[in-house]
Symmetry: C3
C-alpha cells in the first residue's frame, strides 16, 4: 500500500520538477535530471545523511525510469497542467506524507535516536523540493508558503507516537494520512502558514 | 574548553543563518532549517567528504536543539541585532577558528594525509556559510569579503605546524586563537581582503 | 593514456570554474575553491552517490594542487582567454568524455547495475559544472545549451555497448572519443541542441 502511494508520490514530484525546469527553459536532459532529483533527491540526501549505502534508488532502476518518464510526459501535458492544479496538490500532499513515513522507517531501521528519525522523515519529505529549487536558482519554496514542511514534522511526530502506543501499522498509516492530508489541504484552502521572519537591516553584513 | 567555544560557535552561526533566512522572508521552519544547516552543515559536508559515518550531530541531538533554538531566538532579537554587530563578528571569528581546529582533528583521527587534513579544517570552517548562501539564493559571501576563508587556511596550517613541533595542545590552541582572531579582526577593522578576480568577457560562454 | 586526458580534463574544468568565479568577483580563495569543485566535484558527487569511500581525490593530493594552480593561473591568462576559446571547448569536450568513461568504470568496479553505471558516468561528466553554477548563483548551463549532457549519455552507452561486444579497451576508448568529440564539436559548430521546454504559467505555483 505504502509502495503504491510512494510510486504516485515520486511521479507527482517528478512532474513538479519538470515544470520548474520548464520555467528555466531547460532542455529535455535538464527536465529529466530535475524531475529525477525532485522525486528521488530527498531520499538520496537522507541516505547520505544516515550513511545508508547503497542509496535506495541505485538498487531500484525502475524508479529512475518512472521519474524520468513522468518528467518528459509533463512536457506534453504542460498546456492542461493548470486544469490539474488541485489534483496535483493532492498528489503532492500524499507524497509528502508517504516520504515522511518512509524516511522515519529507514532511520529507525538503522537504530538512530528519535530526533534523527524525525529529521530523516522531514528530510525525505522536503529535500527533493529544495534541490529542485536550488538547481533552478530560486529560493526554496517549501520554506516560504502554506504549511508544508511543518506538515511533514507533524506527521513524523504523530506516526512515531502512535507506533510507540502500540497502534497497528495499518491504522497508524491511515491516521497519518488522514491528519496530514487534512491539515495540508486546509492550509492550502485557507492559506494557513507559519509566521514569516522578515529581516531587512541597513547595516548588517555577512 | 574547545567544546565550550564550539557551542558558542554553532550558536553564533545559527544566528547568522536565521538572519539570512529572514532576509528571504522565510517562515519559522525555514529559519530553523537554515540556522541548523549554517551551524552544522560545515561538519556535515566534512563528514561526508571523509566518509566519516555516522555524521557528528546525529549522535548529539542537543546540538540540533541548540541551533534551532538559537535560530528562533534570533527572531526576537532581530531589532537589536545591529547593536550586537561587533560582538557577533567576534563570536563568528571564534567559531571559524574552533571549526577549523575540530575539522583538522577529525581528519587526522581518520589518518588522512596532510592536505586533506587542512581541507577538512577549512571545509568545517566555511561550508556552513556556503550552504546558507546557496539555500538563500545568493553568491557565497565567504568567498568575496574581508579575509575569512584564508584565516581558516592559516589557522589550519599554524595549528598543524605547532603540533608537529611538539607544542602542547593547550598552548597550540591558544596560539591558533590569538593569531586567527587578530588577523580576522584586523581584516574587518582595516578591510583587508584578498585580491579579487573580476572577469567580464563579451564572448566567453560556459 | 586515459590518465593524461584526465589531467588535461581537470585542468580545463578548473579553468572554466575560475572564469565563472571571476564573473562573480570572487577573491583568490573563491577562485581556488570553485576551480577545485568544478574539476573534482563531479567525481566527488559520484563517489558519494555510490558510497565509494574514501573519495578519489582525497587519496591523490596532486590533483588538488593541479586544479588550484590551474584556477589561479587562469587569472593571469584572463585577458587572452577569449583567443583560446575554441581550444578550450576542445579540452572541455575531451574532459567530458574522459570523465564519463572513468565514471562508468568506477561504478562497474563496484558491481552496480547497468543504469547506475550509466548515471555514474554522466554524473562524473556534468556535476562539476552543475556545482560551479550553483555556487556562482546561476542556472546550470549544462542543462540549457548545445548538446553536452546528452553527449555524456551517448558516450556512456556506446562505451558500455562496445565493451559488451568484446571490443578491446583501447579501440573502445578511441571510438568513444572519436564519436563523442565529433558530436560535441558539431553541436557547437551548428548549434545543435535538444528541444527546450519553456513553461510560463500564470496560475501555477510550486
Amino acid at each position: 500500500m505504502l509502495l503504491y502511494i510512494y510510486l504516485i508520490a515520486i511521479t507527482a514530484e517528478a512532474m513538479s520538477g519538470a515544470l520548474a525546469a520548464g520555467r528555466r527553459n531547460m532542455d529535455l536532459f535538464g527536465v529529466s535530471l530535475i524531475a529525477f532529483l525532485t522525486a528521488l533527491g530527498g531520499g538520496t540526501v537522507r541516505d547520505v545523511m544516515l550513511g545508508n549505502f547503497p542509496i535506495g534508488w541505485t538498487q531500484h532502476p525502475p524508479y529512475i525510469y518512472l521519474t524520468i518518464s513522468a518528467g518528459l510526459t509533463t512536457i506534453l501535458l504542460a498546456r492542461i497542467m493548470h486544469h490539474l492544479h488541485r489534483f496535483f496538490l493532492l498528489l503532492d500532499a500524499m507524497g509528502l506524507i508517504a516520504f515522511t513515513i518512509i524516511g522515519c522507517n529507514v532511520a529507525q531501521g538503522l537504530d538512530y535516536s528519535l530526533p534523527i528519525v524525525v529529521m530523516s522523515g522531514i528530510t525525505t519529505g522536503i529535500f527533493g523540493g529544495i534541490l529542485r529549487d536550488v538547481l533552478c536558482n530560486r529560493t526554496p519554496q517549501v520554506l516560504r508558503h502554506e504549511l508544508y514542511a511543518s506538515v511533514s514534522l507533524l506527521v513524523a511526530l504523530l506516526y512515531l507516537l502512535l507506533r510507540d502506543l502500540g497502534i497497528s501499522e495499518n491504522i497508524n498509516m491511515l491516521a497519518s494520512f488522514v491528519v496530514g492530508l487534512s491539515i495540508r489541504l486546509a492550509a492550502i484552502r485557507w492559506h494557513w502558514s507559519l509566521p514569516v521572519f522578515s529581516y531587512s537591516p541597513e547595516r548588517w553584513r555577512s
